[in-house]
Symmetry: C2
């Protein structure tokens, strides 16, 4: 028996020693067809572990715990899975809705809120235990449930999110989780499809699908209400059929500007963060899906909807010029910069690989095999509002 | 013997299990009189470990490794100590100069550069092994060695820093570590005492002690050279004797403004980041030492030189008004915000404690005993240029 114990102890010992590492250079890649995620590290661009059993990840997003050890993965099947990236295992899982599209961790790290399509609304859980804390259906002024999109954390234990069908922006205050206090901004525009919050947590922008324009809320002056910016930016040009909804998040901010996909057009809009007026428009290769600033705001990387999704373009911010068109692989679904921006990771779904580029030389420096990869998320997001 | 092995294995096992944790909520507090640092966590505001043997920390600074597991501590005795914050132990130590004041880790995490007073210059080391990589004496145009201050990382394997005595700004390119390439900007002003780089890595500001003004370098347009801003901001008012040099770092940026100590005056200057002109001046309780923005840029917290160092003031950024004056303890040497800014940690050296405040309620929420604490540094700095 002692021999058995010794063997077990040594096995556990050898299992635990390799896991001791910082979490600062870690990340997660979603393998969308297999209900799996890869745990990766960006110092040497390698995969460390595979975690299975995450259900339907054909659309998935994730946010990190305050200590960056856990990823909360939101899946297409309504699953909320807490993944321990240090042990490469599932620490908890709840199927909490029919279909969820994203979530947010509260500023203090204690709560995780999930934005649900079906049934429409948000559900909030304790990050330590995944115990349910609140359930807030998104019933609009029209009395019908709405899909919820664009959720982000606000200072305190608050979350902001948007009701797609009803066209409303809500703020839920979970300071007393038993009695969430909800503030509603109604009539913000038609079919807001996604929303972003700037890194300072001040400006919330909801992109509209039902009309040309963006709904803007100044969170430091909420009494001023929601206003419309970039109204009619399509300028009457016939919008193309939208093959894939663009995504909006805080990484759209470069310096004092916000770079946005012009939904239905082969263009990126540049908006000044002080005047909220359009200052430039950049012609690009296709319909943008992700328009992401390098962390220093000196470049914007753009990927595209089908049929242009084998192409990536790099825009130089000061000159607003496309400086490079790359073909890193087939069906580039997502991009993620390393924390200080020296490299960017791109998921090439139909090439079954993740490709790593140097953002100065614009050349490929590494690749990792991955099965139908989609989202890539580095742990630096743990320290950022809205990501 | 098997029993002995089993006991040893179980002991090692129990020793290694508690260390498995994320590094995202960790930090380090310097105990300046004892050559020690505390490893702390900011989720529950507790100390996790004490690490001794770091030499003279009566002036100390630190930066983090790319994975956030290691702190590189720069001490007054010229010591460079690599601390493993997960095991609470020293992973390496080099006494590499007579007196060093700070350092920086390269963008890709491979190099750590130390800014030395004596002998004046920088020394660069491999972050993994602490093997020496380069030694660049700071000999100014006057042929004499200068103290080096204000070091920060730039994209690539570059470092920017300032020569205090010679009044020059240098950029060292360590792409080929055997042949560092140095770019020099001379005649930038008299006795630049510290420098900051904005979070986007674009603007480098060196505060001058020998005259009223700031030297500014646009790193995205280096051919334009260094220019003077805020010239004569003292407006002829007699400057007070400076009891403690202010510190400048990237945390001085709030939104599109930079908040700076007006050296020798009881004032904070507000500078617009687009025009580089002063837009406001805030009267404060003493000579500012640290003027730090909360991560969202909505508040500025200020501490002061003796005799006003028992006081902290909080400024509301939009209104530029001092909204609170606090007395958290005796001799508040340093402040550090949690990554998303919900709390701020303050070191009260002569009260032998670190005090934690909620930045919304402006009330104390925790405290930790610490022996003569000075600098406090959270791991979120690992992902930021210049910090």
């Amino acid at each position: 028996m002692m021999r058995g114990l010794l063997v077990a102890a040594l096995a556990l010992l050898s299992a635990c020693v390799p896991q001791l590492r910082g979490t600062g250079d870690l990340g997660v890649v979603v393998e969308r067809a297999d209900g799996r995620v890869l745990v990766v590290e960006s110092t040497n661009s390698t995969a460390l572990a595979t975690v299975s059993g995450l259900g339907d990840l054909s659309h998935a997003a994730l946010v990190y715990s305050r200590d960056a050890r856990y990823a909360f993965v939101f899946g297409r099947d309504g699953g909320l899975t807490k993944v321990d990236i240090l042990t490469g295992s599932i620490a908890g899982r709840v199927v909490q809705s029919g279909n969820s599209i994203g979530g947010a961790v509260s500023q203090d790290g204690s709560l995780v809120a999930v934005a649900n399509y079906t049934p429409g609304g948000i559900k909030v859980f304790d990050t330590a235990t995944l115990a349910p804390v609140a359930d807030i259906p998104a019933i609009g002024a029209d009395g019908k449930p709405s899909k919820v999109i664009g959720i982000a954390d606000l200072p305190g234990r608050k979350f902001i999110y948007t009701l797609y069908d009803a066209g409303e922006i809500w703020i839920a205050d979970l300071t007393d989780p038993a009695k969430p206090a909800v503030t509603k901004f109604t009539g913000i525009g038609k079919l807001p499809y996604d929303a972003l919050i700037t890194g300072d947590g001040r400006w919330y922008l909801a992109g509209l699908f039902g009309e040309d324009g963006i709904a803007l809320l100044d969170l430091w002056n909420q009494d001023k209400g929601v206003r419309r910016i970039l109204d009619h930016y399509g300028k009457g040009a016939v919008a193309l059929p939208v093959f894939k909804m663009p995504h909006l998040r805080g990484w759209a901010v470069a310096g004092n500007e916000v770079w946005l996909p012009a939904i239905g057009h082969h263009q990126v809009l540049v908006v000044d963060k002080t005047s909220w007026k359009e200052t430039a428009r950049v012609e690009v290769a296709g319909q943008p899906v992700f328009v992401m600033a390098r962390p220093d705001g000196r470049q914007i990387w753009v990927n595209f909807a089908v049929p242009d999704y084998n192409v990536i373009q790099v825009i130089d911010v000061p000159s607003r010029r496309v400086i490079k068109t790359l073909e890193p692989g087939k069906a580039i679904l997502h991009m993620e910069f390393t924390p200080r921006g020296e490299r960017v990771w791109l998921s090439a779904r139909d090439s079954d690989k993740v490709v790593v580029y140097d953002t100065e030389t614009l050349e490929q420096v590494a690749e990792l095999p991955a099965s139908k990869p989609s989202g890539i998320f580095f742990t630096s997001r743990a320290h950022k509002t809205g990501l």
